[in-house]
Amino acid sequence: MDRADILDRIRELAASTCPGLTAADIVESATFNTLGLDSVRLVELGVRLEQTFGERVIVDDWIDQEAARGDEGYTVGSLVSFIERSMT
């Protein structure tokens, strides 16, 4: 699965988690906070991602990693990269 495929799956799952979102909103530079996914919705997205990508993707680890980045964290692109790394 390449980067574009991962982004597509994230778009699909984020839209299921937050029904007002469209694929056009979910670009790599966007943060989940600006997309309207608060910590509760991130839990749901994390569960959906883990169900989709399997146990190698531990979304809590990505959340830990992003927490250290402060305001610049939690972008869609960093999640794509994280999943890409986890899958290889």
């Binding site: 029904p19 509760v40 919705r41 749901e44 569960v47 146990e55 531990i58």
Partner: protein
């Protein structure tokens, strides 16, 4: 019931990310909310169907009129209480709002909430004291253990034990109540320690200074074990004081239902499987909210499982050798270098 389902979660154990305390991650690592979410998704719903808000309670035994007003004004469809201290304080407030909870009932304290017509939930077992087999893991890790110490917070929510401790304090100056005194609150823990061949000491501390001074009389090393429950978490600053003294004195700390604290400086944690408990709560919530099932038709559930955590780095610091068969009792292991391998069942 009309969506979104208005759910209010009440708990004393809700922390913000700027609070520098090891148990800040309790919710994450306890994972009950992950289990709840999975359960809801499995039933064809999602959190978009919910208006869910988390409301932090003040430490017990305080009342919380602001929180109560908010829950009532919001016309909540369901209240979830995380912890027995939350449900025992919330239950008298309303006989109408369906309430589900999870929590441990040491010595059956607080179990009378089940008589409430609007309450059901999941009982957690406090695994280390639920069976001698589990309690014996302390000896498996510390073969030379001779004494077990259990500090008890002044914010313990069980009034009979608090009264008993006050009576002890009026008569004695010792920081620890030693078994088999009738002032001991956790009788089953005393019996377990006795069967293990250890002297049992229970220490009801009044404040952080008393906690510190009582810990400092414990003999350091692996002939003593300090076993702590989450009532200590309720007193602001207590966990940090405790961890500081545990590190300074070289004490072997065991926690019950709080892996983040054990990971920060304890030898081991003995938790219930919070993810499974959350899954049961999700199932109950969907029955109540989507299927309009009356709460009195939803049976109370027993503890769905255990998850134990072992901190090998702390074991190494204390010179504790962990045999393979003992390590295999643990589901999560923090390695000597502090890393956390994926939490997988080793059983």
């Amino acid at each position: 019931m009309v969506r979104p389902y208005r759910v209010r979660v009440l708990s004393s154990y809700i922390y913000s990310h700027d609070e520098h305390i090891p148990h800040r991650d309790m919710a994450r690592d306890n994972r009950w909310f992950h289990g709840f979410t999975k359960s809801v998704l499995r039933r064809g719903s999602g959190l978009a169907d919910f208006d869910i808000q988390f409301l932090r309670l003040p430490p017990p035994p305080s009342s919380f009129p602001d929180v109560v007003d908010r829950v009532l004004q919001d016309n909540a469809h369901l209240v979830i209480c995380a912890g027995v201290d939350a449900v025992t304080r919330w239950a008298p407030v309303s006989d109408d709002i369906p309430t589900v909870y999870f929590g441990g009932h040491p010595e059956n304290h607080g179990l009378d909430v089940l008589a409430r017509p609007n309450v059901t939930g999941v009982r957690l077992n406090l695994p280390v004291i639920w069976s001698f087999e589990n309690f014996s893991i302390i000896r498996d890790l510390l073969p030379g253990v001779r004494e077990i110490f259990v500090p008890v917070s002044p914010l313990l929510s069980f009034a009979p034990s608090r009264a008993n401790y006050r009576a002890f304090r009026r008569q004695r100056r010792d920081p620890w109540i030693s078994g088999p005194s009738s002032f001991i609150g956790f009788r089953s823990l005393y019996f377990l320690a006795d069967r293990l061949g250890c002297r049992y000491h229970e220490g009801p501390f009044a404040d952080l200074d008393e906690l510190a001074s009582s810990l400092r009389v414990i003999t350091p090393g692996t002939t003593t074990a300090l076993v702590v429950f989450n009532d200590t978490v309720l007193l602001a600053g207590a966990v940090n004081v405790l961890l500081e003294i545990v590190r300074e004195r070289g004490l072997a700390l065991f926690w019950v239902n709080n892996w983040p604290i054990a990971r920060a400086g304890g030898v081991a944690d003995f938790s219930s499987d919070f993810e499974k408990a959350g899954g049961l709560l999700g199932e109950m919530a969907m029955k109540i909210l989507r299927d309009s099932a009356p709460i009195d038709t939803i049976p109370f559930c027993e503890d769905p499982g255990e998850r134990f955590g072992l901190n090998l780095r702390r074991c190494a610091e204390l010179g504790i050798t962990v045999r393979d068969e003992v390590r295999a009792r643990f589901h999560a292991v923090q390695a000597i270098d502090g890393s956390r391998p994926p939490a997988v069942s080793l059983r």
